[in-house]
């Protein structure tokens, strides 16, 4: 992999950017691989990267139906935090959090990681108690967290309205100072480039149409570009986990819903952190380009259409106006939807399955982006060793039979 450097940037700037090379190859699929990963999003590419780097599995393919960065990887609001309530989630998301901190340097790709702080607001006494409890739980788990009262919230985020006269006044907030946002395209491009350099084949615009099995074991996949033999198939397809699992007659506790986001016209710096509110239900940050990036909850109905309904937009705009009256004249530039696979306990599935050689990483619901490096890291470990490690083990699909659920609806911060 030819490394990027300040010197190269300067040289290319002077000669009209004519010397940049393609960042990854577009190889023809080989007849067989040691493992096939379905889904070239952030989690899938991270899985491929860590399989190659940590486990030496380089004869692998990532098969992507669209293009790199065209699915949920390019449809999220890029918020990074790890302030989850339960021990299992804290371990998983904090593992990812640690990897984010050095990821840009490691991939030699500027992922524009910005540790600007994440506020989770409380609007009533019950929520305040719950969030204070979460701060204590976070600290016990080594997750950085603190509690701010309303005045301190205003001090940290001057744009916010803390008037006691609004319908849902801000009573306080949790703050994870090292939380923040990054550049989603850069993350997937960086992972794709690094994985490709280690020999991973990234096969875009190719759809897996069937998974082949013989006596309960995976033997390959059929794709729109022919059959590929492989003993290990890993599904990492946000939005289509059930569709892929059905190819091996596996039922999952997942429902797929649209999750929408939108951005405003770009304005000068006005919002210096990420603000999330579970009760009035909106979350907002400002991109480095100046756009407000706004998200809220899922559409109620199951759907695979990447559009969503306008009542959700109306709801989240009303919430935004309450918290930031100054945004009322901003125009919204565009809106989009992604499909999120939601589990009943709002926690992901990282699991082996009854079909030998078939692994599932999905059901991340509304909060998958922040987990990207950690998800790929523990999933690669599971695929390579065929056993979950301590972080991945609580997220095996057996939990729906044993009842050991990791019910994170509160810390997921978005209504499921």
């Amino acid at each position: 992999m030819k490394r990027y450097s300040a010197l190269e940037l300067l040289r290319e700037g002077l000669r009209g950017h004519t010397g940049w090379r393609k960042v990854w190859r577009h190889p023809e699929p080989k007849p067989s691989y040691d493992a096939v990963i379905i889904g070239g999003g952030g989690h899938g590419l991270a899985t491929a990267y860590y399989l190659a780097r940590e486990h030496g599995m380089t004869n692998i393919a990532v098969i992507e139906k669209g293009w790199i960065g065209g699915g949920n990887a390019g449809r999220n609001t890029t918020i990074i935090r790890s302030n989850y309530l339960f021990d299992e989630s804290a371990a998983l998301y904090n593992h990812a959090f640690g990897l984010w901190k050095t990821l840009g340097r490691e991939l030699n790709f500027n992922i524009m990681m910005s540790h600007r702080g994440v506020l989770n607001l409380a609007h009533d006494d019950g929520e305040m108690r719950q969030l204070k409890r979460r701060v204590e739980s976070n600290r016990l788990n080594g997750v950085e967290a603190e509690w701010l009262d309303a005045k301190e919230v205003k001090g940290f985020c001057p744009a916010i309205n803390i008037s006691p006269d609004i319908r849902y006044p801000v009573l306080g907030a949790t703050l994870q100072r090292s939380g923040g946002v990054n550049r989603h395209d850069a993350v997937v491009w960086g992972y794709a480039r690094a994985a490709d350099a280690m020999g991973v084949d990234i096969i875009q615009q190719t759809e897996v149409t069937n998974i082949l099995t013989e006596s309960g074991e995976v033997t390959g996949v059929e794709t729109t570009r022919g059959t590929i033999r492989t003993p290990k198939v890993a599904s990492v397809t946000a939005g289509h986990t059930s569709v892929i699992a059905k190819m091996v007659d596996l039922r999952l506790p997942i429902e797929s819903h649209p999750l929408q986001a939108l951005v405003s016209e770009p304005v000068k710096p006005v919002l210096n952190c990420v603000v999330m509110s579970n009760a009035v239900h909106v979350y907002c940050s400002q991109s480095d380009k100046g756009e407000l990036v706004i998200g809220a909850g899922i559409d109620a109905q199951l759907s695979y259409t990447q559009r969503g309904n306008l009542d959700i937009i109306e709801h989240q705009m009303a919430s935004l106006m309450e918290l930031f009256p100054m945004f009322s004249r901003l125009r919204m530039m565009r809106q989009w939807g992604g499909i999120v696979d939601v589990c009943p306990d709002a926690s992901p599935i990282i699991s082996k399955t009854p079909v030998k050689g078939f692994y599932v990483n999905g059901g991340w619901g509304t909060g998958g982006w922040k987990a990207t490096p950690g998800s790929g890291h523990v999933f690669a470990d599971l695929i390579a060793r065929d056993e979950p490690n301590a972080i991945a083990a609580p997220f095996a699909m057996e939990r729906f039979v044993t009842g050991a659920l990791v019910a994170e609806h509160g810390a997921a911060a978005v209504a499921h």
Partner: protein
Amino acid sequence: MFVIDCPHCGPRDQAEFAYAGEAHIARPANADELTDAEWAGYVFMRRNGKGLYAERWWHAAGCRKFFNMLRNTATDQIHAVYRIGERPPEVKADLPRTPSGEASIGSGNDAVKLVRDTGAGDA
């Protein structure tokens, strides 16, 4: 927004309704004989299909009755509504040609549509 034709009240805005998940899931009659895995199947496991899907809706701000609906989850087109206890009618829908493909209208997934020919099905 959907306009949903409630079988009891007629067409109303989706804001009046609540989604109530997959339809035609019967509670096991032999509840005390079920294993944990069978219970998990009834409580948690869902078909979550891409294409024609039978689902329950609740007219929360209207007659407050549940009813069933046949909707294409790949396009959001509503094909039929029918009362609880009735069988889903036969309908013809524009379905994806491959399991995770896109229907020719309405999916919004241009990332995948752009690389396919524009014939019937997942254009």
